[in-house]
Each structure stands twice: as C-alpha cells, then as structure tokens.
C-alpha cells in the first residue's frame, strides 16, 4: 500500500463543493425535523430531551431514506477516482491495492459525513431541548407512534444515540462500498442512481424486518473486496 499516493488521492479528490452542499442540506433537514418535535412537545405541554430529539431525527424514515442517504452517495461519488488502468494502479502497484485505497477513501469520507451530521444534529437538538440522563414520559408515549423498538428504550438515551450512529454508519459505509464497485463498472451517474435504489431497498429491509443488515452486508462486501483483490484479472 502506497500511503503517499493515498494522501495525494485524498487531497486531489476531496469533494469540497459536495461537502459544503451536504452541510447546508443536512442543517435544513434537521432543523425542519426538530421544528416538528418542538411543535409536538408544545401541543402536549411536555418536552423531549436533546438525545431523544437526536434519536427521533435519525430514525425519521423520510430523513434517512430521501435526504441523508442520497446526500451521502452524492458526497461519496464525488470523491472517487475511477480509473483502474491508469495512475492509481501504477502507484499502488496492483489493482487490489487500488481497491483497498478506494475502500479507505470511502471510510474516510463516510467519517467526514457523519461528523457533519453529528455536529449539526447536536447543535440543533441542544438548542431546542435540555439534556437528560433518562428517557422522558413523552418519548415513552410517542415511541410506538414513531416506530421505535422497545430495545432502544432499555438503555440510556446516550447509549441509544451511540448505537444508532454506529448502525447508521455501518449501513452507509456498506452502501458507499457498493457505490465504489458500481462506479468501476458503470458511469458515475448510473452508479449513483443504482446505489440510491439499492440504498433505499436496504433501509426498508432494515426498518421493516429489523435485521442487522448493515453488519452482515458490510462483512459480505468487505470480504468481496478482498476476494477481488486476489483476482488476477479484473
């Protein structure tokens, strides 16, 4: 692995414009969602806590599937170098090395995306509601309407937030790797559209069947990428 080339690649392919757009769109979406929770808590004269607002924002299907997911794929697809037969291969000395590099880049930009998401969600939730160590009665009462499983309610709000972020990170990372493989085979636009469709289907399966698809799919695709690395002809 040529780490010098990795550093150059990260710099050259840095999707500045796309990350800026992602920041503003995420802020808008999160603000609109938090507005809804403010209105709900006012109408019942009760209040959520900041961690609960984060949970409700991140479990909102409209946000996850139609806003954050396409936005993430938009960022990831702008950070890729798709030339398999050119400089990258030469610098990495092998195609498997290039694939490894691309996976590391996907991981890197997924981390950046989630840092953006975390900062904005924290800023907005803490501006709206206070911190709390336990779940509020309002959240308990509203959990079934929001489709939140009782497993979430067993721990503290902080552990629920951490689990949620971890699960979402793994899911999006998996989808990012799918996008990476598709963009090797197809044009960027086609890979983008196909990845969004696959991502939406994955989210539905995870939400409807509550299968930890993110973990298993992540493992499958990482395994597939290592198998690909060992293939002589790509």
């Amino acid at each position: 692995m040529n780490f010098r080339y990795l550093k150059i690649s990260l710099t050259e392919d840095f999707p500045t414009f796309r990350l800026i757009i992602a920041a503003f769109v995420t802020a808008f979406a999160v603000t609109v969602t938090v507005y809804k929770h403010i209105d709900l808590s006012d109408s019942v004269s009760a209040s959520f806590s900041a961690p609960e607002t984060i949970i409700l924002t991140l479990t909102d299907m409209i946000n996850r599937v139609f806003i954050f997911l396409p936005l993430y794929i938009f960022v990831i697809s702008g950070a890729k170098s798709t030339d398999l037969g050119n400089t990258g291969v030469i610098m990495q000395r092998s195609r498997p090395g290039l694939v490894t590099l691309e996976i590391i880049k996907v991981l890197f930009y997924t981390l950046i995306f989630f840092v953006i998401l975390l900062i904005i969600v924290l800023a907005t939730s803490n501006a709206a509601f206070p911190q709390a160590e336990d779940f509020t009665r309002t959240f308990f009462g509203a959990s079934s309407s929001y489709g939140i499983s009782s497993d979430v309610l067993r721990g503290t709000p902080l552990t629920a937030v951490v689990n949620l972020f971890t699960s979402m990170f793994l899911t999006y990372f998996t989808i990012g790797i799918i996008n990476m493989f598709l963009s090797f085979m197809l044009k960027e636009e086609a890979a983008f559209v196909l990845t969004v469709i696959i991502g939406i289907l994955s989210e539905i399966l995870i939400t409807a069947y509550r299968i930890p698809l993110s973990l298993s799919a992540c493992a499958v695709f990482i395994l597939a990428s290592f198998l690909l690395m060992n293939k002589k002809n790509l």
Binding site: F14, L19, T26, A27, I38, A46, A123, T124, A128, S150
Partner: protein, 330 residues
Amino acid sequence: MKFVKITAVAAAIAVSAVLAAHFTREHINEVHEREKSLAEIILGNEAAAALENEAEKVEESLQTAVTEITTTVTEEPVETTTAVIPANTEVPEIPINTTASIEEEQENIVTDYQIGGLIDLNNPPENVISILALTSEQQALLSNYLIDHYFLDGFIFAQNEENPAVRERKYAAAEMESAAVQTVNMIMSTIDISNPMNIFNTDFADLIKKVTEIRVGFAANYGKESIEDDDLQKLYDGSIAYFDNLIASLEKINTAATDYKNSSNALLAASLAAKSLTETIIPESMNILEGSFDLVEASQPIFLENTVGHTLLTRDEVKAILSNPAYIIQ
C-alpha cells in the same frame, strides 16, 4: 490548496450548525409566545393523556417483557373537560354582582348575570398544576366548575324555571344544544386518540352519514319553533352552521384518511400521514371544537334568562383554567 479546501468545508459546517441552532431557538420563542385557542388546549390535554397511557404501557412491557399488556383507563375526568356533556349538578348560589339588569315589565322577567371576573388573568397563581396530576376529586371539581360557569346544564336550568314560557324556551335550547353535544360525543368515542394513526382507520363515511341524519332531524324538529324568538333563532342558525361545518370538516378528514389508506408505497404513506395530520386533521378537529364553543356561548343567554346572580367565565378564562387548574384548585 488542501488547507483552503478543508477550511472551506469546516466553515460551511460551522455556519450551517450556527444557523440551524439560531432558527431553532427562534422557533421555540415563537411557539412559547403564541397564544393557544381553547380547542388547542383541550386537544393538547387529550393528547397528553393519551401519551401518558402509552408511556405506562411501554413501561409495563419493558418491566414484564410481555408483548400483550392491558391497562386500565383512568382518565374519565379528563374526558369531561373536553366534551360538552351536561352533568347532573345543582346550580350554585353566587353572590349578586352589580351589572346591567334587563326587565321585561309585561312578563316580570328579571335577568341579571355577569360575564367574566371569576378569576384574575392578570394575576396568575404562583404554582402550576397539570391536569394529568389532578386527583379524581379535583378533576370532578374542575369539571363541575366549568359546567356551572361556562358549559351550563340547560336541562337543569329548564327544570328550575318557574315561568312556563321561559321554561319552554330553555327546554328547546337545551334540546338543540344536546344535538350538537351528541355529535361531539360521537366523534370522541369513534376516534381513538390513544394512537393518532388509528384516525386513518376510522370509518368516517359512517360518521358523516350519522351526523347528516342528526342535522336533517334537527332542521325538521326545530326549524319552525325558533322563527318567533331571536335568541332561539340565533341558536338554531348557529347549530345549523355548526353541523354544516362539522360535515365539511369530516369530509376533509375522510379524504385525507382515504388517501393514506389507498397509498401503496409504505414510505410515501408515512409522509402523507404526517402531512395529513398537521395540515388537515388537527386544524379541522380544532375547527369543530371551536364551533361547539360558539354554540355554548349562544345558548348561555337563553339558559340564564330569568336568573339572577350567575357569573360566567369568558373563553379566555376557560383556556387559562384548563392550562393551569391552580386558578381554582389550591
């Protein structure tokens, strides 16, 4: 160059986070300063009670790890604060206040009542009590107080009336009002608010049919009687307008519920449900409740005719009491 890129992204993140927090704080201030209507307060209390029930269910399921948990509903006194249900209460003796009196020399009818002044809105109580925190006795006290001073039990006033002509008018007004109360009770019992999503599964077509039948019966029974009497005519016209408004609101809610049920895409259905609840169902429900309060206030002069010394609450005072029962409960 890479430093510029990183700085640009970091600046965008900071600006978007600051803007999001700023607009959120502004919205909170706006929401807290907004004056709620009486219907919003009543619906809000109903929703809070429903959430409390759901919270108890969730807590029990977590403790016992049993999926099917039954809970007892103990919120009957809260229901009485939301529906205009005449209760069997005595009209209390209230000290006479000096107001303008109306005397009709031919029939020797003296009407003397005051509107407002029972509580001081400019001097709210120091403590705040939630309706959900009231005991059964306190909830009964609150309910009776509101009925005695706002909703009024028309049949009790009619029974206690000695003048035959006035008694007939009061009975007519009480019957007219009870038709409207019947529709409010029908709606409250049909729509299960313990889970707002159940609203989309309610059979609104049947509800609309029943309300329409009540309206037709009402027009047939009372159309002739009220022509000679201005107050009863006003109550009759107000009732007809209320029924028409109710049917129109139920039609809109029915359309929203049907669109949701016919939506085959689970994801779009969820956004449609949220949009329908916010833009149609909640505003139309508040519209229905506000209409019923207009009727209550139109019937008050009739029920209080030939009575002396009664004091009524204004709608703002009722709102204040429902927001904080500490105004009347210590």
